[in-house]
């Protein structure tokens, strides 16, 4: 080693600091500390408000999880960011709206069997509506897949992405036409009455209408319960389908290696269509649940939830079903907590900042596989 080299080389202690990636870690730790401190003080100051936000975040997170599953499954199998998925969600919400408001579909059990328990009849009616919008969404997704994506399967991936954007625009603006869904906000009629419960140190009571919420208590409604229960049931069903059934096995095989799966006698085109259909069905259910929680429907309502769920899917590791759930719950919490404690208008920016930071730490998401991309 000559003298110039020794002059220019870095001192050993700096070298060891660089090896430990100390600065980047420090910044992340600092950021984490600020967030933890902010949340901690919020929890200590007003625990009931904090808990309330967490419950609201859970409600939102489970809806996001249902949408995120569609993104993650489609990406896992055809490596396509399906931008039209958020609009499928919108169509699901509108289908349930028409079924409830125009067709009164949710009242069919009480009309057929007038003596039936009202709760049971409403439950069966609502489930019918959900199933209807799931079927409509699934059929629509299969059509979209067959018409727009299948011809491009052998072309470059970006062409399919552009068609996805085109389909998304088409669904939005076609929905905005006056004789389709119209460009207005439409109030959504819930198929059941909202019941609100108050929980505090004294136990859980029903909150009567028009009565103020007592201090130091957390309120939650049957909507939150419904969303969480319905989402968990659907996700368990999905997990069962993917891991235990023959179709699920075929789906995993196609996601792993399309050509080999075809050699093994799997109908790849059909499996891809089924994947799109399952994802869209979940989005349809999520559309109804979202509209029940936030009772308004409009033609562009799918854009932001779709984007948030997509971020959730990426955050959890795209292609992984538990990842989608975890990512969606994080997104839900991030949205409500940042709206409550940091800044309401900045909540979308904060959600994306979380995504970017998580990607910097774990480049393939929380549950993502560390394999290198083929493309």
């Amino acid at each position: 080693m000559n003298s110039t080299h020794t002059f220019l080389s870095t001192p050993p202690f700096i070298e060891s600091l660089i090896k430990k990636k100390i600065l980047g870690k420090l910044m992340l730790i600092l950021l984490a500390a600020v967030v933890v401190w902010r949340m901690g003080t919020a929890l200590v100051e007003n625990p009931s408000l904090f808990l309330q936000q967490v419950i609201n975040g859970l409600q939102l997170g489970f809806v996001y999880a249902l949408i995120a599953l569609g993104y993650t499954m489609v990406y896992g199998i055809v490596r396509l960011i399906n931008f039209a998925h958020g609009d499928v969600f919108m169509v699901g919400a509108f289908m349930s709206f028409y079924a409830i408001s125009r067709l009164q579909l949710h009242t069919w059990p009480s009309k057929l069997f007038p003596n039936m328990n009202s709760m049971l009849s409403v439950g069966i009616g609502s489930i019918t509506v959900v199933i209807l919008s799931m079927i409509v969404c699934a059929l629509m997704a299969i059509t979209i897949e067959r018409v727009a994506y299948k011809p491009l399967r052998s072309a470059a991936r970006i062409s399919a992405l552009i068609t996805a954007i085109g389909v998304s625009f088409f669904l939005e603006y076609f929905g905005a036409l006056p004789f389709v869904f119209s460009a207005n906000y439409i109030t959504y009629k819930r198929p059941f009455e909202v019941t609100t419960w108050v929980a505090n140190g004294e136990g859980v009571q029903t909150l009567a209408r028009g009565i103020e919420v007592p201090a130091n208590s957390v309120i939650f409604s049957n909507i939150a319960v419904l969303i969480i229960v319905a989402s968990i049931i659907l996700m368990v069903l999905l997990q069962y389908t993917v891991t235990r059934t023959k179709i699920g096995k075929a789906m995993r095989a196609v996601a792993y290696d399309k050509q080999t799966a075809q050699l093994m006698g799997i109908n790849v085109n059909m499996i891809i269509s089924i994947t799109f259909a399952i994802g869209a069905a979940l989005a349809g259910a999520a559309g109804m649940l979202y509209a029940i929680a936030f009772p308004q429907v409009v033609f562009w309502m799918g854009i932001i939830p779709g984007l948030k769920s997509f971020v959730a899917a990426v955050l959890g590791g795209i292609g992984s079903i538990p990842g989608a759930l975890v990512g969606a719950l994080i997104m839900g919490q991030a949205e409500t907590l940042s709206a409550a404690y940091i800044s309401t208008p900045m909540r979308d920016a904060i959600a994306f900042s979380i995504l970017i930071i998580v990607l910097l730490v774990r480049p393939t998401g929380i549950f993502g596989e560390a394999t290198r991309e083929k493309a």
């Binding site: 870095t10 600065l23 470059a156 552009i162 625009f169 603006y173 905005a176 800044s343 979308d348 493309a375």
Partner: protein, 422 residues
């Protein structure tokens, strides 16, 4: 004595200038209405943005959706400079941004040289160093700008009005580009380490973060004149020679891009697109070229933003919505990835079809159908020509003087984001 003039060069420049003159004459004759000429200006602006994206995505293979965010940054920073000058005769924004651009740019260059000696420095730590330096120099330039503003105000005020405004306008557009470029460097440094799709998503996030910040520019950022989600008004419109300025910048961008691509830089970034590992094995600094391409692409986006602000004279955060951020991507893919000719034609075609042609074709009362018909056209185009309108075609002047690459096997070509360059 005289160098022989290249025929291709002659055709190219003759064509561009001819196009400009024809439009100018048609404008004077009144055949091209002011509406149509606004569309042409917008098309030129979109062409500049898309050329930047084409450099990033088409030639370097980095799937970026952040172009629209840099466009927004450029638009707002240029608009702020000219707004303050033309409304209050105030050069504070000009001076502060000018100093920060120069100081931060210099700091980044010196730091890059210094830090490249440190082996094994991870991107995040480097980002922290750059960020601290940026904050320091921006603070310094705010102080420096505040000191020099009164002197500059009187100096520029002494000049005739058209001259001072021209100086401010051109500086504003250049500064807009540089601001976007430096922010893209800071953002790209850690994020460029991500894989292709993840990089796209992170840049999409950047666009959305910029849009949210602009929505709250009057409250959170403290720029009263930007008026947040109500939209920024009072930006001076460059009417009489605005089209000339836009077209001149466009020509400069085209020539700069072409020359970049014909240099070792262009060959390096194309090799990075084709195969990163092989490029690395050939001694190409992959990280450096990725960052540089991203910065140059964003520079173009910032320039275009500065031009757009003065063509439109009104800025609204909704223009920079992430939905619109697909515009340059659609243009680049529609024109053909890695084809400058295609990008230029597609950006004019895109705006002409959406804003003008569909308005003419559709019967009155059906204007809402424009955005229903356009996606269908887009779908049909993509299904018929998945490689874009022009594919790999390039005008003779812009064409790369490279031996054609060997054709890839079919399976590999399908997996790759784009076809190999001819």
């Amino acid at each position: 004595m005289f160098k022989k003039i290249d025929r291709n060069k002659l055709i190219f420049f003759g064509g561009l200038i001819g196009f400009y003159l024809v439009i100018q004459v048609l404008q004077l004759m009144g055949i091209v209405t002011s509406f149509l000429s606004t569309i042409l200006s917008m098309g030129t602006v979109l062409a500049i943005v898309s050329l930047g994206l084409n450099l990033i995505y088409g030639f370097n293979g980095q799937f970026s959706l952040g172009q629209w965010g840099f466009y927004a940054i450029g638009a707002y920073s240029a608009a702020d400079i000219t707004y303050r000058w033309s409304n209050n005769q105030d050069t504070s924004a000009l001076l502060v941004l000018l100093f920060s651009v120069i100081l931060v740019g210099g700091a980044i260059m010196i730091l890059y040289r210094t830090l490249s000696r440190l082996r094994g420095l991870d991107a995040l730590s480097a980002f922290v160093i750059y960020l601290l330096a940026t904050f320091g120099f921006v603070f310094l330039s705010i102080k420096l700008g505040g000191l020099l503003t009164p002197a500059m105000n009187s100096a520029l005020g002494a000049l005739p009005e058209w001259l001072s405004f021209t100086i401010v306008y051109i500086l504003a557009v250049l500064i807009a580009g540089l601001v976007a470029a430096e922010i893209s460097f800071l953002f790209g440094l850690p994020v460029l380490t991500l894989g292709s799709d993840y990089f796209g998503i992170a840049t999409l996030g950047f666009s959305i973060i910029v849009k949210v910040l602009l929505d709250n520019s009057d409250t959170l950022l403290g720029f009263e004149e930007m008026k947040g989600a109500r939209g920024m008004i009072g930006i001076p419109k460059v009417d009489d020679w605005g089209w000339f300025a836009v077209f001149a910048f466009f020509m400069i961008v085209v020539v700069v891009t072409r020359n970049l691509l014909h240099s070792s830089f262009g060959r390096a970034i194309i090799s990075v697109r084709e195969d990163e590992i092989a490029a690395k094995a050939m001694g190409i600094d992959v990280g450096f070229y990725k960052t540089l391409t991203f910065v140059i692409g964003s520079l173009f986006a910032g320039l275009a933003g500065g031009l757009y602000a003065h063509v439109n004279a009104f800025l609204h955060p909704d223009t920079f919505n992430f939905i619109r951020s697909f515009d340059p991507l659609i243009v680049v893919v529609l024109g053909g990835l890695g084809s400058m000719t295609g990008t230029i034609f597609a950006s004019y075609a895109y705006l002409l079809v959406v804003e003008w042609l569909l308005r003419q074709i559709l019967p009155p009362g059906f204007e809402n159908w424009r955005f229903v018909v356009f996606p269908v056209i887009l779908l049909i185009m993509m299904l018929l020509k998945p490689n874009g309108l022009f594919g790999n075609f390039e005008m003779p002047f812009l064409r790369q003087l490279l031996p054609p690459l060997k054709k890839k096997p079919a399976a590999e070509a399908a997996a790759a984001p784009q076809e190999a360059a001819q």
